[in-house]
Symmetry: C2
């Protein structure tokens, strides 16, 4: 479900954007190993992974994060309004296994009119859940979004 | 240059691991758009990107982070000793353009013997630099590494 583009001025604290589910396949994990260069055996060697406490292949944490950013794109809310993705803090709360289906919740946590009249800082709380509704990744993303033209003129 | 595996007990604060350069190609950015699902035009549409303040396509921030994890893998230091990648805080300091060549510096910032006798927590300071030695990504990663067997027995 895609929503309209949201500028800084369209947001309020507590507002939630959702996307997904997105299934993470074994092929996605293999592709991610190649593009990242992270061929750690827990992510690439099924036999080795079967002998670990997790019992099998798991997705890279950075892949879960990548999928979260893809789901954020899929909301449609920010494609034309993001000026910059400044920083993030996330924890990898649970492993993501092949064929897990992930859903994103992106909640507006803080709004700051700086740094310029034509843009504002948004801090989002991020939650990525699996098909059992368990959080696999959580944290915060700090973005800069452009403001409405009239707000910028008034600022 | 690959180094030997490093357990928690092999580390000291200030120790630095390095890897790279790794060139990030336009093909890498396209692959990353597909696997993440983030098809934001700044990353996928050369004509659109040419009209933005950055003047052309740039890599996804999450791709820079992915490349940093791949370079960490390439050091060889942690392949068999990482128990978990717990969390991270990073900022995207500068854009990464196609064909930029990135180098990783991973510095041991804090060592904490918790949470169990057979493993310890390591906080790394992370710096990813481009071919002009400018930092494009910086922050911290929090990992759990296994300890030496004799340290575990003594702990």
């Amino acid at each position: 479900m895609t929503v309209a583009p949201h500028t800084f001025d369209d947001l309020h604290v507590g507002q939630v954007f959702e996307a997904g589910p997105r299934r993470v396949t074994r092929a996605d994990i293999a592709t991610f190993a190649d593009v990242s260069g992270d061929h750690t055996r827990l992510h690439t060697d099924p036999e080795f992974a079967a002998g670990t406490p997790l019992g099998g292949l798991v997705a890279h944490g950075a892949l879960s994060l990548a999928v979260a950013t893809g789901l954020a794109h899929e909301t449609g809310a920010f494609e034309t309004t993001v000026v910059a993705f400044r920083s993030l803090e996330v924890s990898y709360d649970r492993p993501v296994f092949p064929d897990d289906a992930l859903r994103l919740e992106l909640e507006v946590a803080e709004l700051d009119e700086r740094p310029k009249p034509d843009r504002g800082r948004v801090r989002f709380e991020v939650r990525l859940r699996n098909q059992r509704d368990k959080i696999v990744l959580s944290g915060h993303w700090n973005l800069v979004l452009r403001r409405d033209d009239d707000a910028a003129a008034g600022g």
